[in-house]
Amino acid sequence: MPTVGVKRDLLFKALGRTYTDEEFDELCFEFGLELDEITSEKEIISREQGDSKASGASDIILYKIDVPANRYDLLCLEGLVRGLKVFKNKLEAPRYRRVSPANGEPQRLIITKETAAVRPYAVAAVLRNITFTQERYDSFIELQEKLHQNICRKRSLVAIGTHDLDTISGPFTYTAKPPGDICFKPLNQTKEYTATQLMSLYKTDSHLRHYLHIIEDKPAYPVIYDSNGVVLSMPPIINGDHSKIALKTKNVFIECTATDLTKAKTVLDMMVTMFSEYCFFSALITWFKLSSEFINRKVGINESTEKIAQLLTRMCLLSQVTGVGDEIEVEIPPTRSDVIHACDIMEDAAMAYGFNNIPRTTPRTYTVANQFPLNKLTELLRQDLAAAGFTEALNFALCSQEDIADKLGKKIADTRAVHISNPKTAEFQVARTTLLPGLLKTVAANRKMPLPLKLFEISDVVLKDETKDVGARNSRRFCAVYYNKSPGFEVIHGLLDRTMQLLEVKSARGTGYHIQAADDSTFFPGRCAEIFVSGKSVGRLGVLHPDVINRFELTMPCSALEMDLEPFL
């Protein structure tokens, strides 16, 4: 969920009234938003960088509001205020239309075929006769940034460029050129650079360096020129300095270049509609027709067609009763790109109706409950293992390669482990293939506890398995350790006997269970046995190898047992 920070007093001024924090929180909730935090710039700086840095900062109250991820129309003060005012019946849902310039000639953006290989789409619009104030200007810049971070996926899908139209002249050309052939003075620089030079210049720029990878390895970089060859921008990296906008700018040329055309249109509509109240602009409208019966049935209410049309209009979805049966025609403004199905309109109707006003009903769905047999077995066994004096541990399913291989004296290649491609730290390199390392780490973290430590865990490990659609499967395991001044093999062996008793498996070769000496590098030589049930191996038990004990930073002897549970279903 994106968070939008707005100055409280500006917000109230725009809304035409003031609210207490509680009242505003309530309003947000009704409208499907969440007032996340009430703070100030000073407070934020003081929290993040310390009091000393914060002394000069502004202490104007800021509201931090959580906005649903697909409601791009609420990402700035203008959009928020418009949405809330319409919702509270203080404003009619705005209708957006395209206006031709005074001379009747619209601007043109020509897209050449060279862009196909790097960034194939571009759309553009002009905001005419805009009046910026410092606050509006700041909001305009901030909206761009918010869109860049959210829907634009950090400029990879869409990049926005804004220009002072009066400094350039159309038609404009969107093309792609080898980086050595692009040369211009970029925003806030004093001299010209080639694109190649710019890429190395921005390597160290804390902000821009994050976007370089989008085009860095392409043979040609995207670039937009005006009819005189002035560079407007080199998307998605930087605009030219020549056409930069300022407070006094009257006409803003907005271009969105993209790898996704739908998103580019949405972003352009958003930039344009949000600042429409300060000027005139262009946009497209879509229409939906649906029945009020549909809404009543899906929400679980019984309202008239007229009432439902009113509810929708309050959500900025201008709606009219057509007179054909209970049909309603809904106008979807360009600001509401999230509405793609009648169910989205239904949701808005429910929100306007108030979720808490919907009568609560009980579904008549009659069903008989069943437990998942493996989980049922697990639940029952856990209880009796605790009754046998062992304490349950709960460890992570992800761990390092070292945990499941080196530390246990095994090779990673022999573990059948699945590997994670993008771990942030070594703790998340693989999914565990054994429960033992987790239990040993639990013992290590609790060495101050009185001995003996008797721990168990029943949980899933993950193993590669070609027969599954995803190439891997879970395996439910039972693992236990006994940690004391003496190895206590007999204790772990006794726990195995008890477990088999609980699982109704008798001690017998062939038909029941038995254990048999085995070699395993995790265990002390001669102190490891394999567990067989009906002749099939299900696990191992034994006294851990001193090297294993050392690698887990333990000091006492330890015996352990680990076995599969799935054969007992």
Binding site: T361, H419, K424, V462
Partner: protein, 470 residues
């Protein structure tokens, strides 16, 4: 048990007096160490209310070791005086005596002796008076007798300064008759024995009282993990409500089932490297229901089923990517797809299992947690039904504000219809984490103390049973 002779003598003494006796006095009159009497008092107290003993403390002047020596043998200066014969004594001879040095200077200042430095054969000491009065000794003798009243404060301090006297705190018992006073005592038994039960001797015996203030011995037992105790309760609630458990034992999932089948677009932030764990081995899933996959592709890229779709270029390569599932809803999708392949019957499903997020970790967020999920699929379910069932569920949890820790909603037609579910079937669902309610329930602030190897085992040992409604 203390010496029975002393105990009996003590009881007889107490019997004879009306009010009580002081343990110190008894000790001195019996000529035994005070500790012997104290021992007798303690053992009588253990028998119950035979005597009552009140602890008293008082201050008293006592002779130091040096003071005792002086009281017996005289002050150093007096001993020096008496060591000097009429014909005098060589100074070096005098200094050889143990009291010589201190006694010499005191006797000099008292003008009891003089030194003839010019005497042939070295300095020699002679008496200057015929008789002396050893006041120091006399004062100390008074103290020894306990007759302090004749000494002035100044004198006491003077003697204290010379380390001959010291002030000590003396503790003693004031012993009087108890409610069940008797001069004969019977030995009390510690515990009932099999012999006593066999021969009936328990009827005659007295037993030592138990100390009910002390704690008992902790039982030797194992413990269940608190998070798992809460999981058991959530399972119970779902089962009571008629929900069937889903098989969620597949941590590895394809992006197709985790995202695409749920109508999550391929550029959605949740599918970013920063939020989801992708696999390098096995990197790709290789098997999908082909016609269903085509319908999913179409609804994303072109729309359909009443939807405009997202209108983007849907790629199988993206759907094939294997991940650690980010929610158990991936399993719900598989279950609903399976359901759609049969003649539809209404279902209620639940699951509680691990999910994984490649998130930034803090005190309340880990890279893996347990998701609780409930799903109901039936004809004509409404938002009112969702609100109603959520209300029932959270009422069973006992805390209505827990609604805030979860998410709920109605699955989109773009998800359900490509699966092949009938058009008039709605599916409502809700989810929450297991960790959050557990942390609230057990008052744990740092999730690492609860989940993972850094768990505080003492917390596990001490955690009470889990009754969610209370």
């Amino acid at each position: 048990m203390a010496d029975t002779g002393v105990v009996e003598t003590l009881l007889q003494r107490i019997e004879k007096v009306d009010d009580g006796v002081d343990s110190l006095e008894v000790a001195s009159s019996l000529g035994v160490d005070h500790q012997v009497i104290v021992g007798a008092v303690k053992s009588l107290q253990a028998l119950g209310d035979v005597i009552s003993a009140e602890l008293r403390s008082s201050k008293r002047w006592e002779l130091t070791e040096e003071g005792t020596e002086i009281a017996e043998q005289g002050s150093h200066e007096a001993r020096v005086f008496s060591s000097i014969p009429l014909e005098g004594l060589g100074q070096s001879e005098l200094m050889k005596l143990s009291f010589g040095k201190i006694g010499f200077s005191k006797a000099m200042s008292n003008k009891w002796i003089r030194v003839d430095k010019a005497h042939e054969g070295g300095p020699r000491i002679f008496r200057t008076v015929e008789k002396i009065e050893d006041q120091v000794r006399e004062k100390l003798l008074l103290v020894k007798k306990g007759d302090m009243t004749q000494l002035e404060e100044k004198e006491k301090n003077e003697l204290k300064k010379r380390k001959l006297l010291s002030e000590v705190t003396v503790k003693s018992y004031w012993i009087s008759k108890g409610n069940s006073f008797s001069t004969t005592v019977t030995k009390q038994e510690a515990e009932l024995t099999p012999e006593m039960i066999a021969n009936g001797s328990w009827k005659e015996k007295k037993f030592k009282p138990y100390n009910f203030e002390a704690l008992g011995v902790a039982p030797d037992c194992g413990h269940l993990h608190p998070l798992m105790k809460v999981r058991t309760q959530f399972r119970q609630i779902f089962l009571e409500m008629g929900f069937t458990e889903m098989p969620t034992n597949n941590f590895i999932e394809s992006s197709f089932w985790n995202f695409d089948s749920l109508f999550q677009p391929q550029q959605h932030p949740a599918r970013d490297q920063h939020d989801t764990f992708f696999l390098s081995d096995p990197a790709l899933a290789h098997e999908f229901p082909q016609d269903y996959l085509e319908r999913v592709k179409k609804v994303h890229s072109e729309g359909g089923f009443g939807s405009q779709g997202y209108k983007y270029d849907w790629k199988i390569e993206e759907a094939q990517k294997n991940i650690l599932r980010t929610h158990t809803t991936a399993v719900s999708a598989r279950m609903l797809y399976k359901l759609a392949q049969q003649k539809f019957t209404p279902v209620k499903y639940f699951s509680i299992d691990r999910v994984f997020r490649n998130e930034t970790l803090d005190a309340t967020h880990l890279a893996e947690f347990h998701q609780i999920e409930g799903v109901v699929a039936d004809y004509g379910l409404t938002l009112g039904d969702l609100m109603g069932i959520l209300h029932q569920f959270f009422t069973k949890l006992g805390l209505k504000k827990w609604v805030e820790v979860g998410n709920s909603g109605v699955f989109r037609p773009e998800m359900l219809l490509p699966m092949g579910l009938p058009e008039d079937v709605s599916v409502i669902a809700w989810g929450l984490s297991l960790e959050r309610p557990t942390m609230i329930k057990y008052g744990i602030n740092n999730i690492r103390e609860l989940v993972g190897h850094k768990v505080n085992l003492q917390m596990v040992y001490d955690s009470p049973i889990c009754r969610l409604e209370s």
